[in-house]
């Protein structure tokens, strides 16, 4: 992306907005906070573009690094202020005119997943949220998390096992 090139930046926003919202949803943020953080992420990419170093990873990796940090800060701020924006007030469902029966099933599954994700520590949640971004490879996630690709696989495996356990426990109740 050429610096100052608003058109290229617009393309970047359109290309990454879907994956970014997917990531923020898995982080347990609601629609309003997700939008706020997604906007802030893109604004920072624009404002601090001169700090981007192509030799340290792709622009996508850099964008998700910013988003991850903003999301984790938002979660810790909410926790310290004893806000409950991610607890019972679960994020709204993102669906575009699905069939009622299908919509209900999707909604229930998402509700179940969110509840389980919210029970995970933020670090594990961030890792799982990143792992499922199709645009990022394991090496990219390792770069964002600041550890080796091997460590990412181990941590992701553990986090997924923990998530599965939480979901099974919830189902058993």
């Amino acid at each position: 992306m050429a610096e100052g090139d608003r058109e290229a930046f617009g393309r970047l926003v359109r290309e990454l907005q879907g994956p970014l919202f997917g990531f923020l949803g898995r982080m347990g943020l609601n629609q309003a906070r997700g939008e706020e953080i997604a906007q802030e992420t893109f604004l920072r990419v624009w404002q601090h573009f001169s700090r981007y170093r192509a030799d340290r990873g792709s622009l996508t990796t850099w964008t998700f690094t910013i988003a991850r940090n903003l999301a984790l800060n938002s979660l810790s701020r909410a926790a310290s202020q004893r806000e409950v924006p991610f607890g019972d007030a679960l994020p709204e469902i993102a669906c575009e005119r699905p069939l009622p029966g299908e919509a209900l099933a999707v909604q229930q599954q998402h509700h179940r997943l969110r509840r389980a994700l919210l029970a995970l520590p933020p670090g594990d949640r961030a890792l799982l949220a990143l792992i499922y971004v199709q645009e990022l490879s394991h090496a990219d996630v390792a770069r964002i998390e600041g550890c080796s690709a091997g460590a990412i696989k181990t941590r992701a495996h553990r986090a997924k096992a923990r998530l599965r356990q939480i979901m099974e426990d919830e189902d058993g109740r």
């Binding site: 610096e3 100052g4 608003r6 930046f9 617009g10 926003v13 359109r14 907005q17 879907g18 970014l20 919202f21 997917g22 923020l24 949803g25 898995r26 943020l29 629609q31 997700g34 939008e35 997604a38 906007q39 893109f42 604004l43 624009w46 404002q47 601090h48 573009f49 001169s50 700090r51 994020p91 469902i93 993102a94 575009e96 999707v106 599954q109 998402h110 997943l113 969110r114 799982l128 499922y132 997924k160 998530l163 599965r164 979901m167 099974e168």
Partner: protein, 74 residues
């Protein structure tokens, strides 16, 4: 269970609102275009860092030599 979990994690929980990109572009219109850091400026920073590091290293070595001299004399 694993397949279901993978599938669930892949489905987007949140989606961007219809004109999200437009909103972002509207906001950046009020911001200045990002400025490039000139190469010479970056090189100058490294030079300044090296210039500060050399006396610091010399001071550390002098301290270590002083400690060694004091213990060897005793």
């Amino acid at each position: 269970m694993e397949d279901e979990l993978d599938r669930l994690l892949r489905t987007p929980i949140l989606r961007p609102p219809p004109d999200f990109a437009g909103q972002v572009m509207k906001r950046i219109q009020h911001l200045p275009a990002p400025e490039a850091v000139p190469r010479w400026q970056s090189a100058w920073r490294w030079l300044a860092l090296a210039a500060a590091a050399v006396p610091a290293m010399l001071q550390l070595l002098a301290f270590m030599f002083g400690m060694w001299a004091a213990t060897a004399a005793g």
